[in-house]
């Protein structure tokens, strides 16, 4: 965890402000369960308001240097966006039955509109977020998104994914360097070697996991899908299978979390706002993996009721790992005039699980 404090720097006093999350699980539980009940009672209409309240709760409880963030999205716009997303989904569901060619057409269409979806989703989220009366913005272009999400991965495929860490870095650059606060840019930069080092460590971990997993999977293959009458796997077999599956799954997830945590530290930790406010990030792979694993187990055991506490716990940890080394008292920012936009892209992106972050 990073601590807040002041240090005397070269050109003036620098203050280290750690992000602080002040929400609590029990408070979010009430909001979540009322959201859920109202969403069911209104046959889904309320889900747009629920989304705004949830996002506001998390942004508004995140404090930096004593001031909260805020979220301003209009539920009506989200509702319209959601409605259009459902229409698209239905259109796909109805027409995909006609012939396989239609499915290919849809896939091509989605491939081409994905960059637009990503950009509008990030823009919607940033423009509706404010801190100290000043809005964030995302200024990435669609061609930029197409480059890092389609072109570079295809090129990486040609190199058998050996250049994948550079694709990862290009995406982080695209994400961080296109965000602005009050018109002032965030800039991050780090060496290719540092991201390769993360992936090579992960590869080493994966090989270790692979040996364990291989042994378990050979034992797992026997009860393939059993359609027949009569045959039933024994309780021990099922229990063993579940344990083996969960172990392998947890190990694989842990490696993914490791890459995520280390790469986030690189991207955020090397970011600078407006040339002189430095960001810091020290996410730990082990604490993060522990939180996610225990959250998952508890959410399961409580049939989902633990979810609000789980989410608060995760966000609180993540916030405690990010800090801003501010070169001033942050009074100098001014809001730019930004046109608001609809939530169509955001909602379609959410529906198809395209949400991106670091």
């Amino acid at each position: 965890m990073l601590r807040t404090g002041t240090t005397a720097g070269g050109g003036g006093t620098k203050a280290l402000h750690t992000l602080e999350f002040r929400g609590t699980g029990s408070e979010f539980f009430r909001i979540w369960i009322v959201n859920l009940a109202l969403t069911i009672a209104t046959l889904g209409i309320y889900s747009a308001w629920a989304k705004v309240r949830t996002t506001r709760y998390f942004r508004g409880n995140t404090f930096l240097a004593g001031h909260p963030f805020d979220y301003h999205a209009s539920p009506i716009r989200i509702l319209i966006g959601r409605f259009i997303a459902v229409l698209v989904l239905l259109g796909y569901g109805v027409t995909e039955r006609i012939s396989p060619t239609v499915v290919v057409l849809w896939a091509t269409l989605f491939l081409f509109i994905t960059p637009w979806l990503l950009v509008s989703s990030l823009r919607f989220s940033a423009r509706n977020t404010s801190y100290r009366n000043v809005r964030l913005n995302f200024v990435g272009t669609i061609s930029g998104a197409a480059r890092v999400y389609i072109l570079l991965p295809v090129l990486s495929l040609l190199t058998l994914f050996t250049t994948w860490p550079l694709v990862h870095r290009a995406r982080d650059y695209y994400y961080v360097n296109n965000h602005t606060f009050g018109g002032k840019p965030f800039r991050t930069q780090f060496s290719g070697w540092s991201i390769y080092a993360i992936y090579l460590t992960a590869l080493g971990l994966l090989l270790g996991v692979g040996i364990v997993a291989g042994a378990m999977i050979t034992l797992m293959t026997f009860p393939v899908v059993r359609f027949g009458p009569g045959s039933q796997p024994t309780a021990e077999a099922i229990a063993f299978l579940i344990c083996a599956y969960l172990t392998v799954f947890f190990l694989l997830a842990a490696v993914r979390i490791f890459v995520h945590a280390m790469a986030t530290n690189l991207a955020i930790g090397n970011a600078v706002l407006d040339g002189h406010h430095e960001l810091r990030s020290n996410l730990g792979a082990m604490p993060l993996a522990w939180i996610i694993a225990t959250n998952t187990i508890l959410t399961f055991l409580t049939l989902g009721l633990f979810y609000p506490w789980a989410r608060v716990r995760l966000v609180r940890y993540q916030a405690s790992c990010v800090a801003l080394l501010a070169a001033s008292d942050l009074d100098e920012f001014t809001s730019e005039v930004i046109a608001t936009q609809g939530a169509i892209g955001e909602e379609i992106a959410t529906f198809f699980d395209l949400g991106i972050s670091l």
Binding site: G60, Y131, V134, G228
Partner: protein, 346 residues
């Protein structure tokens, strides 16, 4: 009426410690802590964010200035005094009242249970019957090749043995929904799966050599075919696939995000369900088998005899243990049921 907080001038991040005061003539005056008046605006032009938990309240002032305060009750009192409606006050009351939260828990739990118990199977059934034939064929081919690769081998039955089984198969298929030409029978070596039979949603039935050799009477094999044809007709395997894929969708909708939880959470139920057909599907297929046996004049309880013998081969002398988690009806229970049905048909 006075609340203290922070004032930000128009479009600026400059924080000024200040307090806001509502006068009798409904004017909101913001005064800095040093006494300087920062701004004064008609209260009706002030937009306040709705109350949510202990979140700081934001007052948006005309012209882009902004006042934030942690004094939620103070802001609410101002709105009450001015006789203006507070946005979202009703929702906040629900969230703050233990009684309404309890109602919400109850409502959410009941409807979630109803959706899982009745909604999912109904949706899966609808989707399964709506799935077009070419898709069925593709799914079935895929499943067959996976099974061939993982557990099944080429059949070692003689041509005579196969012809005999095919004859019985055609006899049952003739009384099934799609008629004699609507299905196909495949023979495979069951390897570690032993005596078993499988059905794919496109009407392909697979029997293992071990099952064919375990059969003592023709009626037994016909009973198995009836059972598997029923699974195929009712597209049971497809319904299971749809039910499994609906679970993550539902979790994403309930929790409002599709993050790592949902990916991990979708695995376990899928594992549990895939290990066997649900209880209802098995009993349904047994019932259909009995009907078909009656049509062709075979003994409906013969399937039960074969099930008992399969259990002995698969699980040892004493038969299999009672079903785990109740997902698969115990064989003895099914056999007893088949015998009762067979007797009642006479």
């Amino acid at each position: 009426m006075k609340v203290s907080g922070t004032y930000f001038p128009s479009k600026s991040s400059r924080a000024i410690a200040a307090h806001a005061e509502l006068s009798q003539d409904a004017v909101l005056t913001i005064t800095a802590e040093d006494g300087a008046i920062l701004t004064a605006v008609p209260f009706k032009d002030v937009r306040a964010s709705s109350r949510l938990g202990k979140l700081y309240r934001c007052l948006d002032l005309p012209g882009g200035a902004h006042f934030e305060t942690s004094d939620n009750d103070g802001v609410d009192a101002m709105f009450r005094a001015a006789g203006l409606l507070r946005r979202g006050a009703f929702i906040h009351r629900l969230e703050s009242s233990l009684r309404w939260v309890a109602v919400a828990v109850l409502l959410a739990t009941i409807s979630a249970t109803a959706i899982i118990v009745y909604g999912f199977p109904a949706a899966a059934r609808w989707l399964a019957y709506e799935t077009p034939r070419p898709v069925l064929a593709a799914i079935s081919e895929q499943t067959l090749s996976t099974m061939d690769r993982l557990s099944l081998g080429p059949s070692r039955l003689t041509a005579t043995e196969r012809a005999k089984a095919k004859l019985l198969f055609d006899r049952v298929a003739a009384v099934a929904a799609n008629g004699r030409n609507g299905y196909r029978l495949l023979f495979r070596n069951g390897n570690s799966l032993g005596p078993n039979a499988f059905s794919l949603p496109d009407g392909t039935i697979i029997v293992t050599d071990q099952l064919c050799r375990l059969v003592k009477r023709n009626d037994e094999l016909e009973g198995v075919f009836g059972h598997e044809l029923a699974h195929a007709n009712r597209r049971h395997s497809l319904q299971m696939v749809y039910e499994d894929s609906l679970i993550p969708v539902a979790i994403a909708l309930i929790t409002g995000d599709a993050s790592q939880f949902t990916q991990i959470a979708s695995v376990l139920p899928a594992m549990l369900i895939q290990s066997s057909y649900s209880r209802g599907f098995e009993l349904q297929a047994d019932d259909d088998s009995v009907t078909m046996m009656r049509h062709i004049g075979a003994d409906p309880s013969a399937l039960g005899d074969l099930l008992l013998r399969m259990d002995k081969t698969l699980c040892g002398k004493d038969g299999c243990r009672p079903s785990w988690l109740g997902s698969h009806p115990a064989t003895t229970e099914r056999v007893a049921r088949l015998r009762t049905l067979a007797n009642s048909s006479r």
